[in-house]
Each structure stands twice: as C-alpha cells, then as structure tokens.
C-alpha cells in the first residue's frame, strides 16, 4: 500500500474529531477495491456467468424441439463444424471484414490528409463528415436498402443517367452486387471512424519535421512515406484493430439489407449463429458455434489489443 504513505490514517483525522472507527479504517484501507467492486460485479454477472453457463449448454442437448438436457459430448460442436452454411459464413465474414476495413482505411486516410490543413468551412465540413458515426447501424442498413432497392431506389436511375445506358441491377438480391451493397453501407458508416483517428494522428505531427524535409528538398511522396506514415503508424494500427474487431461482429446491416440472402449466401458468423439459435432454436448448436467464434475472436484480441496496450504505454 504505497498510497498510505501520502498521509497516514487519512480517515477521520484531525484534532477534535472522534477517533476513526474500525469500520472507517477498513473502508479506507480497501478504498480502491470498494470503488472497483460494483462495476466488476455487474460485468462479471453479465459476461463471466453467462459464459460459464454457455459452456454447459454447448455440451448438452438444448433444443426447443427436443426435450431434456442430456449430455451429448462434442455433438453440438461437430454439427457446427460440419455445417456448410457455418463454414461459408466464416468466409463471408472474413471477406466482408477485409473489404470493409481496407476501403475504410484508404478513404479515411485520404480524407484525413485533405482535412489536416486548415481552410474556410473546415469546422462545418468536419461536423458533416462524422454524422454517420452517430446513426444506428440498423438505420444505415434501412437507408441503403431504400437507396438501392429496385424499383424504388434512385441508384439505378442515377447510374443510368450517368453512364448513358440502362442499368437494372438488383442490388440486394443478386451476387456480387449484394456484397457490394453491404460493403457500401459499412464504408458509409465507418469511414469517418478511420478518418477521425487518423486525422488526430496527422494533426499531432510537429510542423518542423515537414519544414526540415522541405529545406532538404524531399519530395511529397518521400515525405509521406518516411515522415507521415511512420509518425502515425501506431494510430493506424489502433484504428485498424478497432475496426477489425467490430467488423467481424457484422450483423445489423445484414439483418436489414439482405436478411442473409439470397438463400444463405450473405450469412455472416453472427447472423448464422443468430439464425440457428433464435430462429431454429437449436440453442446447443448455436452456443457451441458461438464458442468457436469467441475463440477465434479472442485470438485476434490477444494479438492486437495486447500489442496496442504496450504501444499506448510508451508515451
């Protein structure tokens, strides 16, 4: 207890005051734990306890159509692994995540580079560009469904006008357009995320670095490559890591835009597990699947977040 050395017996000291009770002393000694306890208890109650409970579920029969909870060993896990829809959902999740994060990063970086300089209306433009971050993903899905849906949406009409020939794309129901539509909605919503973080990184670069580079006659590209990029490197890692971890949970826009369809072609892992658990009520199988998904995610978290924490501890 090094804190105690700042002031001895901080509880109820001072001339004329009654000596601290044993209770007050105990509270004071365990002060830091008392502050932490309620939050930790609540988080534990709603994450550790359910997770432990779900271990049990994943090893028993837990199905609304089959009564009883008999131990079934690894049957639930085997069912998930053997399910072609589950396997495909992993591919879809990986593909969409990769596309989403790549486009969001490139566009976000481009925007940040443009916005780092000060100019008139910059504040207003900034406020406009971040708007999508504050909208529910469900609504984003709904909005893009409205924009793209035939025959109602204006997209095909605008494309026809722009390209000069008749465009009749069923954006939400025919591959590969439905994937493009999903990426479009995600990019619309989350590019500002990358943009805002990268902009903060760019703003923090001391101007004298650029001045020195200019004096030495370093070209634009080299300046970007050898000054800008290394300087915002940690920020890039952080922004990509955060987006990656959120993108693999993709559910809302799938739910609103394609409903996983056509067929099961746009099932992401989260959507697949939701369908199995809450539409077909194979809870054992869904839970086993969610454990596999969780382990996959945990591996990514361990790798990325630990590294981030270390990077963050430095400055």
């Amino acid at each position: 207890m090094t804190e105690a050395s700042t002031a001895e017996h901080p509880a109820g000291r001072g001339a004329g005051l009654a000596p601290p009770t044993a209770y007050a002393l105990w509270c004071d000694r365990n002060f830091k734990w008392l502050l932490v306890a309620p939050a930790v208890a609540l988080i534990a109650a709603l994450s550790i306890y359910p997770l432990l409970f779900s271990i049990w579920i994943s090893f028993v029969n837990y199905d609304f159509s089959v009564p009883g909870h008999d131990f079934v060993g690894l049957k639930n896990f085997r069912q998930v692994v053997a399910d072609p829809v589950a396997r495909w959902s992993v591919v879809v999740t990986a593909m969409l995540t990769a596309l989403d994060v790549t486009f969001e990063f490139l566009l976000g970086l481009g925007l940040a580079l443009i916005m780092v300089q000060s100019f008139r209306w910059r504040g207003l433009i900034m406020s406009i560009l971040i708007i999508p971050l504050f909208i529910s993903p469900v609504i984003v899905g709904q909005v893009w469904a409205l924009l793209l849906q035939r025959p109602f949406g204006p997209t095909d009409y605008l494309l026809s006008q722009l390209l000069g020939f008749d465009v009749t794309i069923s954006w939400l129901t025919s591959p590969p357009w439905n994937f493009i539509a999903l990426v479009l909605a995600d990019v619309w919503q989350w590019t500002p995320f990358m943009f805002v973080i990268l902009l903060a990184g760019l703003t923090a670069i001391p101007p004298h670095l650029y001045e020195a580079a200019e004096l030495d006659g370093v070209g634009n590209w080299s300046t970007f490559r050898y000054i800008t990029l290394p300087y915002i490197g940690p920020m890039i890692t952080l922004a990509i890591a955060f987006r990656l971890l959120d993108a693999i949970k993709l559910f809302d826009t799938i739910f609103m835009m394609t409903g996983g369809g056509p067929g099961t072609s746009t099932y992401t892992s989260s959507y697949y597990l939701y369908q199995v658990g809450f539409q077909q009520f194979h809870l054992g199988q869904a839970t086993a699947g969610s454990w596999l998904f969780l382990i996959l995610t945990a591996i990514i978290i361990m790798g990325l977040v630990r590294r981030l924490l270390r990077a963050e501890a430095k400055p």
Binding site: F134, S136, P151, K249, I301
Partner: protein
C-alpha cells in the same frame, strides 16, 4: 503533403474530393428525409421525385402510432438514460481507482477492455436463457442491466484516461486537510472530472440509443426499443418506404445532434481514451 505549396490544381482536386465526400455522406440522408415526407404516389415515379410538391407528415403519424414507434421511442429513452446514468455511476469510481491506485494492475483494465470487443452473440444466448428464467426477459430492467454492462468498458476507459491526465496534487491536498479518501474522490476529483463524465455519458447514451442486437434478442412486445421497430418494415417490400424513413428520422436526429455536441471528445470516445485528439 507540403502544406504551403499546393498548386491551383491540387487545390481544385482537394475541393472536388471534399465535395464528393460530403455528397456521399449527405445524399443518403437527404433521400431518407425526402422520402419521409413524400406522398405514397411519388414513391415509384421515374425520374425520382427529388422534392415532393405536396409534402406530408402522414408517415410520421403512421410510424409513431400504427407501428408503435412512439412506444419504442419511449422505451429507448427510458433504457438509454438509465443505463447511461448507471454506467457513469459505476464506471467513474472504477476508472478513478484504476487511474490512481493501479488497482488490479494491467489485468483488470485489460479484462474490462476485452469486454468491449466480446462478440455480443457469444453472451446473448445464455443471457437470453437466464433472463427468461429470472423474469428479466422483455423488461426495461433487463435491457438496462445489459446496456450498462455493454457501455461500462467505454465509460471506464474514457474516464480512466481522463483521471490519469488530471494532477493528483489537489486530491492530496484534500487528504492533508483531513478529508477521507472517499471525500477527496467525491468532493475534489469528481467535480474536476465532470466534463469528462459528461462526454463519456453522451457516448454511452448514443451507444445505447443505436444498439440493436441485444434489444432484438432480449425484448419482445413490451420493452422493445426504437431500432427494433424496423423489423416491421422487413418483408413488406414496396409499401412502407415513407413510414420507415420517418422512423429513421425520429431515431437519427437526436443521436446526431448529441454527437455533434461532443464532437471535440470524439477521438477519445472512439478509441476509449487511447488517443487524445
């Protein structure tokens, strides 16, 4: 990159890129706004009606009353406000303890952070079963508890970063003056950190307001929130464009307004305090 020496062409290019970006952001929002006041006859017009000659508010009434959007709105307000308050109430002390006493070392803070990235699908199934057996399913209380837990990592990490950059000296002075540790926390540290608490709370509120997945699974006809009302518009392709757009407007306007208000804390909010911005 070279800030002072942009030529006319690159300035033009920059202008064009910004114009495109703004169009890309506002275009879809304009379409929703316009659809929400468009008479149904204009839905399928070719070329599309960019501004209705006879705007109508009828879709708003339908969305709020016929589709129970108002009930969803009220539930959303109740659940989001209470969960936000609870999150600030529990999260601020924990953040203070982590920042000042390094409680639990890196393990505890890392555990909290990892909760932020836990896929909801992994916990929602067992929570659903627990809620059904404890009577918390489809209640405000149930969703409030879930949302509190779901926003706590954000609150804790934002406040953690805030407290860490606040000087200790004032709290130490209070201790020397005879305050208990509790008093120095409540009377000195919390008032100083109030701007941070407010910012963190706004982000927590927006997160609750826009959340869909937990609400979808843990509520049904009683405690459903605004985002879950959109389920009603699925499958009926063709007729509810106006209603769904009206409901979108009702949901997105408050959260955008709040978001713009705390704009200067945005970087901190998005990165859980890791980047100062």
């Amino acid at each position: 990159m070279n800030i002072g020496h942009l030529g006319r062409w690159s300035r033009l290019l920059r202008f064009a890129a910004l114009a495109l970006a703004i169009l890309f952001v506002l275009g879809p929002l304009y379409w929703v706004a316009i659809t929400s006041i468009k008479p149904s006859n204009d839905y399928l017009a070719v070329p599309p009606v960019w501004f209705p000659s006879q705007p109508t508010l009828i879709h708003y009434w339908a969305a709020l009353f016929a589709y129970r959007g108002l009930d969803g709105l009220i539930n959303s307000v109740i659940v989001s406000v209470l969960a936000t308050l609870l999150s600030a109430l529990l999260g601020t002390p924990m953040a203070y303890s982590l920042a000042r006493f390094n409680t639990g070392g890196q393990h505890l803070s890392f555990w909290v952070l990892s909760q932020r990235f836990l896929p909801p699908i992994a916990v929602v199934l067992p929570i659903f079963l627990i809620y059904r057996s404890t009577g918390l399913y489809d209640t405000h209380a149930g969703l409030i508890i879930a949302y509190t837990v779901f926003t706590l990592p954000v609150t804790i990490w934002m406040m953690f970063a805030y407290f860490r950059q606040m000087p200790r000296s004032l709290e130490e002075a209070a201790l020397v003056d005879g305050c208990t540790r509790w008093e120095s926390f409540i009377r000195v540290a919390v008032p100083l950190a109030l701007p941070g608490v407010v910012a963190a709370s706004v982000f927590a509120f927006i997160a609750c307001w826009t959340e869909f997945f937990f609400a979808l699974v843990l509520t049904s006809r009683h405690a459903f929130t605004l985002p879950t009302v959109f389920r009603a518009f699925l499958g009926f392709q063709g007729s509810q464009y106006g209603e769904s757009s009206a409901l979108s407007m009702v949901s997105l306007l408050p959260s955008i307004a709040l978001g713009i208000l705390v704009q200067k804390h945005l970087v901190r909010g998005l990165t859980l305090g890791a980047v100062r911005g």
